[in-house]
Symmetry: C2
Subunit: 273 residues, 2 copies
């Protein structure tokens, strides 16, 4: 049928012309936590952690998954959907959010075709430690990569601890994009191991050329703390002088000082916007 005007066309448009599907968002909420050491002099060790929720219904009942939810197509954008989920899980609404990737394997959800846009969210854990919803829990996450492209994710929430094995291969010779496939996983639902790995990889990359890290920091922090956050995300030790040179113009010194650590006090800095 031919219409004369766009208005007329739209009035007669049948939205069922193309088959439809459901969409969800999955959120990788990342934070860095400190744990006190036994030796009173030593600084606290930092660990990266992500929030996981326990599935209390099928599919993947009893397994852990990234917080997420179905999109309400008439009402919200994907980012708004992600914000809604974050609000439910953490009580907070001003959390850094960034779209990561849209995962769309045909059988990634056994119920039906569901395409999921994943988001990275970064937060300073101290902002919400008591508020998270009771089906969710923080897991310390450790990556270990072998030379043969095996990748191991270890997750530990102090109560449960488990490992997942993935394989990493270059998708094209001419790109940086990796294709991950899960080799051994009895604990994480859906394609979430791959989502998590993709998210951590993005975070690692962005650390070097953005100020993204300050979304995970409190207002006042020492350069030692900041360096430890870098180290735990990049999974390698950095040298203090070089690190300080690099971030020098991103931070500003304050009058405050952090004392009581059993050694020389550390000046508190602030993010310079």
């Amino acid at each position: 049928m031919q219409y004369k005007t766009e208005e007329e066309f739209l009035k007669n448009y049948d939205p069922n012309k193309f088959e439809r599907l459901s969409m969800t968002t999955d959120i990788i909420l990342i934070s860095v936590s400190s744990s006190k050491q036994d030796n009173y002099r030593k600084t606290s060790k930092k660990k990266m952690s992500i929030l996981l929720a326990k599935r209390d219904d099928y599919p993947y009942k009893g397994m852990w998954c990234l917080p997420g939810g179905f999109l309400k197509p008439k009402e919200e954008t994907l980012e708004e959907c992600a914000k809604r989920v974050l609000k439910t899980e953490t009580g907070l609404s001003n959390i850094y959010l960034e779209q990561l990737y849209t995962f769309d394997d045909i059988n990634r959800d056994p119920r039906m075709r569901v395409i999921s846009s994943s988001y990275i969210a970064l937060v300073d854990k101290n902002r919400l430690d008591q508020k998270i919803s009771n089906n969710a829990s923080w897991f310390d996450i450790t990556l270990y990569e072998e030379k043969d492209n095996s990748v191991f994710i270890t997750l530990d929430n102090g109560d449960v601890s488990f490992s997942i094995e993935l394989e990493k291969k270059l998708k094209e010779k001419t790109t940086d994009r990796y294709k991950f496939s899960t080799k051994k996983n009895d604990y994480l639902a859906f394609d979430h191991p791959i989502v998590i790995l993709t998210g951590l990889e993005r975070l690692r990359n962005k650390l070097n050329y953005t100020d993204i890290v300050f979304n995970m920091m409190p207002e006042y922090f020492t350069l030692g703390d900041l360096q430890q956050v870098y180290e735990v995300i990049l999974n390698k030790k950095l040298l203090a002088p070089a690190f300080r040179r690099i971030i020098a113009d991103k931070v500003e010194k304050t009058e405050k000082v952090k004392t009581g650590e059993g050694h020389r006090p550390s000046v508190l800095y602030r993010y310079r916007r």
Copy 2:
């Protein structure tokens, strides 16, 4: 209702539990073209171009848009959908493809809620110059950015030429992600000006830390050609010695030579995988 097993749950699952929507893919097919100069001695000037299709139906009838199509949820992934579209438009099926971003403004399509995952595709234009479908056309694209964050896109297919004005602002203080908004546009359908800009930005970034550029090159090329491709994408002049140092280990010299240019012949190189 409670089910005992996942199998039982799935058998009784109602896919209409969550409201559904349509998805599309949009493809930014990018290539670099040469145009002969009047002076026989001069090397050909290179331009970046993208493929646009003319809309022959509402909405946006008569305007230009990125090639794209609706996803068939039961049959294909987004990438397969993009490949299908590319095959129709160019006749080729082995084109570099990479997911860019999922655009999801609620009213981005006047017909109904449509979420679109955009893909970047790179090709050597010589591979397909005669094959493209007849509703599509290559447009040379030029970006011009003013200090006040205005961005101008100029598109020219030799027949039509038009400009679009956008505004660019940082989405968050702590990220590199820009938010674009269209200020003046009478020629490009949907949110495609923003999609294009996002795509070109991604391409520019990736040029520096991947081998992505070789997807746009023929098998044999001179370093001068390669440098010109870099220059047209980065929109700035490069110095030959520095450029050659940087790409030295990505390419390998061949026995072939390009002659007949009115000046010293140039050695042909090949991508070193």
